[in-house]
């Protein structure tokens, strides 16, 4: 038996596999992690404080910068909460456009996760494939709203831009294309011996733990809890589409991978149905006053972002600015479980487990 002694290891905040500016203070004994403490806040910009001095439309671009991998869902969270409080009805065309862009964004976000995750655990080539396909989605968004990452696309009451001519056909084509790509990904990754060795049975989360820590998204579903806000607390027009909620069994990293891959397929299904049933003509904006005065009250709504439950809690005092705005950021909740997962693991599994959670630091720090 070799003599080992405890040491403190600092990981980050500048480290490629912490996916941003996360710092981990890890206590290791030999190669075994005894304790780990995430240190966050390096990207804190005070969005919630800034929002108190902005009117509701001005807040929307700030939400783009929270979860910058899926800005569309962030846009939707604030718009949806405001609309709920104002009891606005959204035109059909706008709802369809919103669903299409949100689901495409989910696919794009999962592709980034897939690429970077595999890069973390040592596979170089999937990253290139993933970014190649994600690029197509970004091009579609670029055509729709003129931005590749920070879209600022939605407004309270609808969306800013209508689909340009021929855009929907391109979306349709992309769905077909992406479907054909999926076997390639599975062929490349799913059966890969090294990948299976690195992920199966690692970082297991139990159902009780997941619920107690408030996990959501694929992190919760991989444990077998069928919880998807699009189904369980339906918003927008998701109740009109036919799709499944993929769940895992064991709650290990491989299940997370599997859930997310299935979710890409389900999202494509929704996009396809939305393009099929896209309404002819009609407005993309509801009738809203130019100065938005949100009636006095309180509202909390959660939506299903690629990372989990993205909530928006608004306390309004009847002004054009929110009295208090709070975002429930899924990454913030999901990251909390990391120390519990790392305890007793080999140091080599650190990046694998951290990557499996799929955090975006812009969202954690807000």
């Amino acid at each position: 038996m070799l003599r080992t002694e405890e040491m403190l290891l600092n990981v980050g905040p500048q480290h490629p596999s912490t996916h941003g500016v996360l710092r981990l203070v890890v206590k290791i004994d030999g190669e075994i992690i005894q304790d780990a403490e995430p240190v966050i806040g390096y990207l804190h910009r005070g969005t919630e404080k800034l929002a108190e001095d902005l009117n509701y439309t001005q807040i929307i671009p700030y939400t783009d910068r929270m979860d910058y991998l899926s800005a569309m869902t962030n846009n939707y969270a604030i718009c949806h909460a405001t609309e709920t409080l104002m009891e606005l009805e959204i035109p059909e065309r706008a709802e369809f456009l919103r669903v299409i862009v949100m689901e495409l964004n989910r696919v794009a976000s999962h592709l980034v996760w897939l690429g970077t995750y595999l890069l973390d655990i040592g596979a170089m080539s999937p990253f290139l494939y993933c970014f190649r396909d994600r690029e197509q989605i970004l091009n579609l968004f670029n055509e729709l709203c003129g931005a590749r990452l920070t879209y600022n696309y939605m407004r309270v009451g609808g969306v800013k831009w209508d689909a340009p001519p021929g855009w929907l056909d391109k979306v349709k084509e992309f769905v077909k294309y992406m479907r054909n790509q999926m076997p390639e990904y599975h062929g490349l990754i799913s059966g890969n011996e090294i990948f299976i060795q690195r992920t199966r049975g690692i970082g297991i989360v139990t159902q009780e733990m997941a619920i107690s820590y408030g996990l959501s998204g694929a992190n919760l579903r991989c444990t077998g809890v069928k919880w998807d806000l699009r189904k369980n607390q339906p918003y927008s027009i998701y109740d009109r589409f036919d799709f499944d909620v993929p769940v895992g069994k064991t709650g290990d990293l491989y299940d997370k991978y599997h859930c997310r891959m299935q979710e890409i397929i389900e999202s494509l299904k929704i996009v396809e149905q939305a393009v099929e049933g896209f309404p002819e003509g009609g407005s993309t904006m509801a009738k809203v006053p130019r100065v938005l005065r949100v009636p006095e009250g309180e509202v909390y709504v959660g939506i299903e972002s690629p990372r989990g439950e993205l909530g928006c809690h608004i306390v309004s005092k009847g002004k054009d600015k929110p009295w208090r705005l709070k975002f429930r950021r899924p990454s913030f909740y999901n990251l909390q479980i990391l120390p519990a997962l790392l305890k007793g693991q080999n140091i080599a599994n650190l990046v694998a487990i951290l990557g499996g959670i799929d955090i975006v630091l812009g969202e954690v720090d807000c």
């Binding site: 404080k49 108190e52 709920t84 509202v299 909390y300 959660g302 439950e309 009847g318």
Partner: protein, 288 residues
Amino acid sequence: MSGQEKEFEKKSTEGKELEQEEKKQTESRSERFPNVPSSSEQSTAEEHKPETRLSIANQESSSNSTDQQQTSINPKKETTPPSGELKQENKEVLPKGPQAAITGKGKPSATPRPRPAAKPVKEEKPLPPSPEQPTLDRYVQLIREQVHEEAVEQGFVNRVNNHLPTLIIQSKWWLAVAELFKKHPDLAFDYVQNYSGVDYETHMEVVIHLYSFTHEKRVCFRIKTDREEARVPSVVHLWHAANWNEREIYDLLGIHFENHPDLKRILLPDHWVGHPLRKDYVPLDKEV
């Protein structure tokens, strides 16, 4: 056709509101030199909601009043709107630019009249009982029986928010209520959906939205606490998710969570002074 007219009418009134808003702002800007922030004055002027409603109604009823009136406004308009005849006379003398151009039709005086009348009626309408009312009653009853008779300060159904049962609780009863809602088999709220805090200036509130996977129910608790000595019992031992959230609320709002295992700042650096989301927080550099 008439519907469209109404919409146009609405737009033009909104435009006026905007104008007034701008005027208000320019007025307040000129007063800005004294150190008192003008926004607070504005907010006190608008503090009482019924009054603002009234003034809005007034604006609407006088939507076809003259430009003179528009220019001579003071933001808090409680003077009675001019009589209909006067309005029409003035109308002929001073045709109003934007409105006439938009509507194009000759009878703007007839359209706005029903609008102010319609609004109050809408509010007075008795609402049907909420489908969640029995759930709320049951929660209140359970708390009264098992915690304390006076533990629930107020309970209501938040209709706008998908009929969410909401309970306002004093912080001294919160721990017992939380334990009841986590452990009671008929409640079993095991999932924290949201955990945040609000500074109401008169008091502080911690807001927690819970979900029960077993019973598929949602509930919202608002825990009231004193502003100067904000203290709320920690619930980390019930829900792990509370840990970082309580640290965040402590960091940004300065609410102290009793018996929290590791209560320290989480987003801001440890040497930071003050709690930014408090309404009386003064930023070090106002330009930022």
